[in-house]
């Protein structure tokens, strides 16, 4: 997989405070990376360093295997923290500014298509001063997508959005992933990150404390598992309840503590029970708290 973002030993100090501490990270093309961490963990600093808004105190950043120069930045679109725009310009004019800066011809149809993709095309001729917070956020997303970037960086993209807007952003990220774009997303809404990310990077006190594929990381924190069997769940409960605590949850499925799964499988196989599947129960929230506390 082609590496498009590479950080080697990157650190950032703000006077006495260390915001990032020797962070090394490589992100490949097509990944959807969720960056997690509590407030002050270094998420925004990391994203700002990748986008060139903040200069690292030490270490090296490479984008598309090149130093982070304007040519490399032309392949990145970003929405960092808040979706800010010129309040005295219309939504379409704000997008026109960004397109022009990206060396693109800002045709009306292109602007309309971009705003339509984020669901704010109806308000394209209104001055941004009159936009709601959610509309501004959508405009910010359109500005991040201007110029068809290969890497899209979204810092808290669902901030201020209503449930419909959150679902739209989820849909947008999924479609970007399908198009082969690389997406880096930071959000406090863990359930949303869980739905879209293929990889997680967890930061604490400016250091990466976990980095890996979503499935792999979540499997580490499964507290319970569901065992699905061919035989009825009542038979399984009858068989296991003598040694283990088992709960019937469906006609052919039982729930059991993760640490008991191995014993249960041994007993069930010994008793001639056919196992269809063992599904660990895990959530990003469980993983996040386990990793950051």
């Amino acid at each position: 997989m082609e590496t498009i973002v590479e950080l080697s030993g990157v650190c950032k100090r703000y006077r006495q405070r260390i915001a990032l501490d020797e962070v090394s990270l490589a992100i490949g093309r097509g990944e959807v990376v969720g960056v997690l961490g509590s407030n002050g963990a270094g998420k925004s600093t990391l994203l700002r360093i990748i986008t060139g808004l903040v200069r690292p105190t030490c270490g090296e950043v490479r984008l598309f295997q090149k130093p982070p120069n304007p040519s490399a930045r032309s392949r990145i679109g970003a929405l960092i923290e808040r979706a800010d725009a010129y309040p005295y310009l219309t939504g379409a004019e704000n997008l026109e500014v960004v397109l022009r800066l990206r060396g693109q011809s800002p045709s009306r149809s292109l602007i309309e298509a971009l705003l339509d993709r984020v669901g704010v095309a109806d308000a394209m001729d209104q001055v941004v001063r009159t936009y709601s917070y959610g509309m501004r956020q959508r405009l910010g997303l359109a500005m991040a997508l201007a110029g068809d970037p290969e890497l899209v960086i979204l810092d808290e993209p669902v901030n201020g959005l209503d449930p419909r807007g959150i679902a739209d952003v989820r849909q947008l990220i999924t479609s970007l992933h399908r198009e082969g774009k690389t997406v880096i997303i930071s959000s406090h809404l863990l359930s949303e990150v869980e739905l879209v990310a293929t990889r997680l990077v967890v930061l604490r006190d400016g250091r990466i404390i976990a980095d890996g594929a979503l499935e792999e990381l979540l499997s580490r924190v499964a507290s319970h598992a569901t065992i699905e069997t061919v035989q009825p769940a009542d038979v399984v409960v009858e068989l296991l309840n003598r040694q283990l605590n088992v709960e019937k949850i469906r006609p052919h499925a039982v729930r059991i503590a993760a640490e008991d799964v191995h014993n249960a499988i041994v007993h069930l196989v010994g008793a001639g029970i056919s196992i269809r599947a063992v599904v660990p129960e895990r959530s990003l929230e469980q993983f996040y708290f386990a990793a950051t506390t």
């Binding site: 808004l53 930045r73 923290e81 800010d84 005295y88 004019e93 022009r100 500005m143």
Partner: protein, 280 residues
Amino acid sequence: MIVRLARLELWKIYRRPRSWIAFAAIAVLVSIVHVVIFLQGEQLTALALQGIEHYLQIEGRYLHGYLVAFIVQGLLLVHLPFLVTLVAGDLLAGEAAAGTLRVLFLQPVARWKFVLAKVLALGLYVASVVVFLAVIALGGGVLLFGVGDLVVLKSAGVVVIPSGDVLWRFVAAYSYNWLGLMTVALLAMLFGSLTDNALGPVIGAMAVVIVMTAIALLDVPLVAQLSDWFFTTHAAAWRLLFESPVPTMQVERSGAVLVLHCVVFSIVTGAVVERRDVLS
């Protein structure tokens, strides 16, 4: 690229309601001056000539459009820098406060190019303000009061400039005014590169103007040497263009000092912006 960026910056400047304050203020102030002079000009000039009337006898019309434009130029010495710093201070600090500096710096354009584009756009904006002043003050004054020989009072005496020799002096004076205004505007822009507060650079630049002007008034040799390098000392050198003969060397030196300030302020602004972390 730079021209494209400068056009974009200029478009943004003129789309901001704040940018039109200077034009509105000039229109109002100059109109008031015109009305006052139209109604009470003779009394006012008589008042101005009080004390020297025994040594000087002026025949013919001396209250005309050229004199009115000259008076306006002197009256707006403080107001104009303030009006242009409203826009200049906002170019970086206002964008930082609004978060749009982040939007700009996320784009694939080197930061120094943004600074250069903003300097060029600011230059054109200030030029448009000066041209507007010229049209209103000089053009309006000539239309209302006609033309004639320009009588300029100096502390050392009186200079009478023939009517046919006046216009080029005004063109030069307005051009010089542009240079003086650009110096203050670029100082405000420099201050704007150091802060996210849009008002700070305006106050900062005007404070520097006031402090430098006050220091220059101190009658101390050391201060005199120092103040000879203050841009405020040279900003009013447009008056030299209404002397006869024009002290060309002095005008050129003053102009050079202002140009030097403009270059230094622009370079420092570029260096600050280039190294700045965008945290807002």
